[in-house]
């Protein structure tokens, strides 16, 4: 994606207005899919992908620099690893509380069901983090390569 094409894309009023008015709903829907994953379809992976799609749309219309001003590349670079660490760390935490690796029930000693809910919430957050950052980083790398 070379520079003149970006300029043209950015100057298109309809694209800009449509993208900008859609974007909040992208991120809101991503959060809904993330936190409603226990009750309806969805979960960390889907939420992460939708989140990344929002950033990609923004980068597509407003240019990669604008997207990286909102979400800097270093954030997503760290985010990919942090997501995996959150999941792995949840496993360590369950072992610390006397359970086996990823035995979420032990996270709340009094209430196994609540512990499971906590564990699932943490690992889903880990997936969200890895997937959203990963997809965004791949987009940044591809789009930043041509200039």
């Amino acid at each position: 994606m070379n520079a003149p094409k970006h300029m043209r894309m950015r100057e298109k009023l309809i694209l800009r207005v449509a993208a900008k008015s859609l974007l909040p709903f992208f991120f809101l829907f991503a959060l809904y899919v993330q936190f409603h994953g226990d009750f309806g379809p969805g979960g960390g992976f889907q939420a992460g992908v939708i989140f990344a799609a929002g950033i990609v749309l923004y980068g597509l219309i407003y240019g990669i620099e604008a997207a990286q001003a909102v979400i800097p590349r270093i954030w997503v670079e760290i985010g990919v690893a942090v997501g995996v660490l959150i999941w792995g760390g949840t496993g360590i935490a369950t072992m610390q509380s006397g359970g086996r690796y990823l035995e979420y029930g032990k996270l709340d000693p009094e209430h196994v069901v609540h512990g499971q809910h906590l564990g699932i919430m943490f690992v889903e957050l880990g997936v969200l983090c890895t997937v959203a950052s990963g997809m965004t980083l791949i987009f940044y790398l591809f789009a930043g390569r041509g200039r």
């Binding site: 994606m1 226990d38 992908v49 799609a53 990919v80 995996v84 499971q116 699932i120 987009f139």
Partner: protein, 176 residues
């Protein structure tokens, strides 16, 4: 009027799109067609009640992957090089396809309530999910029953990103 199930219509459109992609020489058009292909498969997944898979397919296949292939095309050029028709790849693809279709012959019919998975595995998961008070069984299976498996999957994503970084990463110093 003839009664055509919407699945048949979607499969037909899927086939037409696939053939168009194979015939197109303009790769920009081809990546737009693959986006349509993804969207159609997302529609099929919705009909099969796999909404999770459907919106992953719509977001990744039709959204992110299309943008990435457009990005890649802007680096490489958008016309496919003219080559004479090759027989060997076609034979390999045809054989693989035939093997896959042969494999599906042993599988239970779509929507068969007596299939093994519905009589042996699924009831346990549904019961367990109810005990955990999580209505979405998919979430319980992914995050709890198959925690290791899904942990491995997020590691796969991590590794894939690592691979892309190794190939495409440029520090600010290199770019200037």
């Amino acid at each position: 009027m003839m009664d055509v199930p919407i699945e048949a219509l979607l499969f037909f459109l899927l086939l037409v799109t696939a053939l168009t992609v194979a015939r197109l020489r303009d790769l920009y058009a081809a990546s737009m067609m693959t986006a349509i292909f993804s969207l159609l498969s997302a529609g099929l997944f919705v009909l099969m009640d796999a909404v999770d898979v459907a919106f992953t397919e719509a977001a990744v296949g039709a959204g992110v992957a299309t943008v990435l292939s457009l990005g890649a095309l802007s680096l490489t050029g958008s016309r496919e090089a003219k080559k004479r028709a090759q027989v060997f790849p076609f034979v390999v693809v045809a054989l693989t396809g035939a093997a896959l279709i042969y494999g599906t012959l042993d599988m239970p019919h779509y929507g068969d309530a007596n299939a093994v998975i519905h009589s042996h595995l699924a009831p346990d998961f549904i019961e367990g999910s109810a005990e955990l008070e999580i209505p979405n069984v998919v979430t319980t299976v992914l995050a709890s029953y198959r925690g290791y498996d899904t942990f491995g999957e997020s590691f796969v994503v991590f590794t894939a990103v690592l691979g892309v970084i190794l190939m495409l990463y440029r520090s600010k110093k290199d770019a200037s």
